[in-house]
Symmetry: C2
Subunit: 162 residues, 2 copies
DNA sequence: GCTTTTACCGACCCCGTTGGTAGGATTTCC
DNA sequence: GGAAATCCTACCAACGGGGTCGGTAAAAGC
């Protein structure tokens, strides 16, 4: 599998926040219940989003999380990167130090020369394909998609206080 | 990481076979030495390629493996699929029984209705991006790429018998 | 027919990551 | 002060990845 459950849960969490009024805190508990996800685990997930500056939070009673920017300005490559770390087709596409993706992908020959290994071309294309699809999708699109679905099902964004 | 070392090794193995004369067996040992890969592990990798009908083999002395079809007719989605199994962005994109990718990605609501979860749109796009890049790359391209590189480095395809 | 070379097969094993849980500390609102 | 929330760290079981090992079967050369 390409993405772990962290990506799945994190994206769903972001969508849920995108459905809310801006700048109004939503508690993790409400989101966990709405999405049927384990609260304690969601805490770890949302921590990554916070470190990446994608969400803001308020502690204490009536606290919670909200989007740091409008959903239109959040592209999914940033979200996924925050949740999964740099995504790359292969190990060697990662520079340990910078966590940035760059392709060395060489191996030494007997003559001591460096040579691009044959798979480089393929992994570059795959990586390009993924990056493009993530960069061209905004959180706002997913929120809109989600709204259409839930209107059809007659579901509220988050269980409102009864 | 998206692909495991099986994909990496397997692709390199296929490229190495693509560099050989057609229908002439090349031993795994030669390939393992040329690519500096563990022979015992390569055996497992090549077994997958064989099961998928991508390579053929002959046992005994002077035996080995060769491509079942010309490299021009082998697209990399088939190769990667053989090595890694069906690739999907998320667990739930896989049908257990068929190993074919199909997206149910629903979850039940309180009302008992099914609803596409919000991430579906995103994963679909990612999957499309990957599939396209794999389908539009042929083994022949990688072989050509590899030849250009090794000409520059003055390297032989596989160590010839001395 | 024996040896060598190869493909083929299955069991095993170490280790890092995943997907959590547990328990607490701290902050804020009422 | 108590309830509701975020925050933080440690821990843990299970799984998959990346191999190794040992052995068997077949084909070629002598």
């Amino acid at each position: 599998m390409i993405f772990s459950s962290k990506a799945e849960y994190g994206v769903r969490l972001m969508v849920e926040l995108g459905r809310q009024l801006p700048d109004q805190p939503t508690s993790l508990k409400a989101i966990a219940e709405a999405e049927r996800l384990p609260l304690a685990y969601l805490e770890q997930v949302v921590a990554r989003l916070k470190r990446a500056g994608l969400v803001m939070s308020a502690r204490g009673a009536h606290g919670g999380y909200w989007l740091a920017r409008p959903a239109e300005e959040i592209t999914m490559d940033v979200v996924v990167q925050a949740l999964e770390g740099a995504i790359a087709p292969m190990e060697c596409f990662l520079s340990e130090t910078t966590e940035r993706v760059l392709c060395s992908h060489m191996h030494a020959t007997e003559a001591g020369q460096n040579q691009h290994c044959a798979t480089k071309l393929l992994w570059m294309r795959v990586q390009g394909g993924i990056a493009r699809s993530l960069q061209t999708t905004t959180l706002a699109e997913l929120v809109e998609f989600s709204r259409r679905e839930s209107v059809a099902a007659g579901r509220e964004p988050v269980a409102p206080a009864a």
